[in-house]
Amino acid sequence: MRRWWLPAVLATFLAPPARAGLDPASQEQTLTFQVLQPSGVALHGAWIELTRLGEARRVTLRDDGLGPGDIPYDGVWVGEDRGPFTRVVDATLLVALPDAEPRPLVTEAVRTDAAWAATVSWRLVDTPDGLTAARAAFAHPGRSVPVSDLLPLAGSFGWLVFLAVFVLGLLLVLQGESEK
């Protein structure tokens, strides 16, 4: 009984590695495309045209809640493309303003090198010369990119404050004990 942990240690170090049969040729990968619509600009539609391992594909982005994981009318247009794992795709973002034909905003090679799922995001910018698109770290519901971007940092500060309160509290309790 004293060495109850020994089997766990042996199991950890000696067991053969768990293999899920990962084969990039047959591994399905989901590419999620997100486009953040600027305030005050109405969009009629948004699409991604991409070349995935030589195959041309077209992804329709939606913001009506019918797309995968989409929150309706939150300003983030979302679409997915499923297929074999690919490290880089050539993608063209097309948007249609009301009563206008779809037009390409940007064409660029984008990295999608995550084995099972990758997300590629653009932020639309309304300039005097018309709409432009710029890559974004990510897009989140409710046009809250700047706030969401800071969330991990806010979490770090919160964690630090919690630790400081915990350690100071511990110190006070233990100090009181030693004085007794």
């Binding site: 942990w5 240690v9 950890t12 590695p17 768990a18 293999r19 899920a20 990962l22 084969d23 990039p24 040729a25 591994q27 070349t51 995935r52 391992l53 030589g54 074999p84 794992f85 690919t86 490290r87 880089v88 795709v89 050539d90 063209t92 064409t107 660029e108 090679a109 990295r111 090198d113 995550a114 084995a115 099972w116 990758a118 890559r135 974004a136 770290a137 990510f138 969401s148 971007d149 800071l150 991990p152 940092l153 979490g155 770090s156 500060f157 964690w159 630090l160 630790l163 400081a164 915990f166 350690v167 100071l168 511990l170 110190l171 309790v173 233990l174 100090q175 004990e177 030693s178």
Partner: protein
């Protein structure tokens, strides 16, 4: 109290669990996937794969074909040595995965040992030191960037252990020799760890001079071991001057120094934008260790006071901010300690002030372990012991979970496209990929390093610069500029392609169509077929569509002739 071997086993188990958690799912898909975010792991795989064939001249003809590339200024000579010795036995993938998974375990174990042996910490509280050092923000950056040789850094805590012992009144020559060896290993690991180790040695020597009582024997032994290695390193580095090629615009001194510095935000944590645009340089200090170290004046007895060490941490944090105090790397121009370096209009060779914080994480960790030990000694009753024990849990979460590495990184399959196996053995392969400039500069390095990593399996020489960031000066860039211009010209001249490529020693062209936009993709494919015939092989595995076109008539043996053919091409191109 458990037996020493039980303590070591449990320490290694805790550190192993943290290592597996933060690099998940690398351990689950062992040998198939590795977590990374940026692109340097691919060039590391290339280096380790090439290391067994590299001689003492540190020159390889497997890269920058037909000119070859000097490795005198490699980031890590230790990786070259390990690759040369162990690569043939275990293979490059296993060696690099070993650095990812076992590196932090060994580094953490060494820091734990330092906390016990020198700072008065007791097990299990000493594990806080291991977690704080091996899984600090800079370690997370190393994993995401792919500089995973930083993760194998037990040398710094072992240097501190031996150095402090050697400088003490009971110092033995053996301690000095060990300290010298550890300093040398720090330097060989990376020049930055060498700088940090040198700072630590200076502090230890200064401390000994102030306190008095040191002996000359350990110092002599230390110098006898460290000096030859240090001088050899400097000689190699000096010999490598001018071998790196011209720096691109993105690498001007001010930009490089700012990008490699800590910001007020990155000292506290990370944001998705830092991962996307700032190479995940997030050198935050270990939070549990920071809080415990800050209360150390209230907890530690006077004779064990760590005030001097904490002042050193403060100085390191100040220096890590580099030339300007930035809130988040995008705002503020408040000049700071290293601003004079930006006045020099040339490369100062010191690009990453943030890396000074390796020493800060180590100091905070060992001081925190000592503080937790004292708190545990004061605890009475199960409630208080449980509360102190929670510090261990918090330290583990701080190291393994809160960096959110599996989420921030990308599990990348290690597979290599099978089409390369069809390329003729002994002849070079020309990688035909786009030139990515401006905001896509990272993609240029990613695709360059990725195709270099394929060489560890196919073994054919490449014209790419497989190490360093100066891809513009590589033969690959110059040759593909000419090839693309020839094939995309309004009047293409495909007949000139085969003889010129053959004269330069290329046996095949590897075309990556997905990386090109239309209509260039189709035009290049048509041009290649007109010049070289139908593809010899096509593969869609490994996440990369690769079409191999054979170049007939190359022999690969006439190196001087190949170099002369490249020189003639460059002369024609005006460069």
């Amino acid at each position: 109290m458990k037996a020493p071997w039980q303590r070591h086993a449990l320490t290694l188990l805790v550190l192993s669990a943290a290592s597996a958690a933060w690099s998940w799912p690398t351990a689950r898909h062992l040998g198939e996937v590795v977590v990374m975010r940026h692109f340097d792991l691919w060039s590391l795989l290339w280096l380790v794969g090439d290391a067994p064939d590299i001689g003492l001249d540190l020159f390889t003809e497997q890269s920058c074909w037909p000119e070859g590339q000097s490795l005198l200024r490699s980031d890590s000579l230790l990786v070259l040595i390990l690759g040369g010795l162990l690569g043939p036995l275990v293979g490059p993938d296993a060696l690099v995965l070993g650095l990812v998974l076992l590196g932090p375990v060994l580094s953490g174990w060494a820091a734990e040992h330092l906390a016990v042996a020198t700072f008065g910490a007791r097990w299990p509280w000493s594990i806080i030191a291991g977690l704080a050092y091996a899984f600090c923000g800079l370690a997370a950056t190393a994993l995401l960037e792919g500089h995973v040789y930083f993760l194998l850094s037990p040398w710094l805590p072992l240097l501190a252990r031996a150095g402090l012992a050697a400088a003490g009144p009971q110092g033995r020559p053996r301690d000095g020799a060990v300290a010298g060896l550890m300093w040398a290993l720090c330097l060989l690991s990376t020049a930055y760890l060498g700088v940090v180790a040198t700072l630590l040695v200076l502090v230890i020597l200064g401390r000994a001079a102030v306190r008095g009582g040191g002996r000359p024997g350990p110092l002599v032994a230390s110098a006898a071991v460290a000096l030859p290695v240090g001088l050899a390193y400097v000689a190699l580095f000096a010999a490598g001057a001018g071998t790196s090629g011209p720096a691109p615009l993105q690498e001007q001194p001010v930009h490089v120094l700012r990008a490699g510095s800590a910001t007020l935000a990155s000292l506290a944590g990370f944001t998705p934008s830092m991962d996307a645009a700032q190479h995940s340089i997030t050198p935050w200090l270990p939070r549990v260790a920071l809080v415990l170290a800050l209360v150390s004046p209230l907890v530690l007895p006077r004779r064990r006071a760590a005030t001097g060490w904490l002042l050193l941490v403060a100085a390191l944090v100040a220096a890590s901010l580099g030339p300007y105090v930035d809130v988040a790397g995008v705002s503020g121009q408040v000049p700071w300690l290293m601003v004079p370096l930006t006045w020099l209009q040339r490369d100062v060779l010191f690009h990453f002030p943030a890396r000074l914080l390796w020493l800060a994480a180590l100091i905070l960790g060992v001081v925190a372990a000592a503080v937790a030990t004292r708190l545990a000694a004061r605890a009475r009753g199960p409630g208080q012991r449980l509360a102190v024990g929670a510090l261990l849990v918090f330290a583990w979460l701080d190291a393994a979970v809160l960096p959110a590495l599996p989420d921030r990184g990308r599990p990348n399959p290690l597979a290599v496209p099978t089409a390369y196996q069809a390329t003729p053995a002994g002849l070079a392969v020309l990688e035909l990929a786009p030139v990515f400039l401006g905001p896509s500069w990272d993609l240029e390095l990613y695709t360059n390093n990725l195709v270099c990593s394929y060489q560890r399996v196919h073994g054919r020489p490449l014209a790419n610069a497989c190490i360093g960031t100066r891809t513009a000066g590589a033969p690959r860039r110059k040759i593909t500029d000419w090839l693309s211009a020839t094939l995309l010209a309004s009047t293409p001249a495909p007949a000139s392609v085969q003889p010129r490529l053959a004269a330069m020693g290329f046996g095949a062209v590897a075309f990556h169509p997905d990386w090109f936009p239309e209509p260039d993709r189709s035009a290049l494919r048509l041009g290649l077929e007109a010049a070289l015939g139908s593809p010899l092989a096509v593969s869609r595995d490994a996440g990369d569509l690769v079409e191999i076109y054979a170049v007939r008539g190359a022999d690969g043996q006439d190196r001087e002739g190949h170099r002369a053919a490249l020189a003639a091409l460059l002369e024609e191109q005006g460069g």
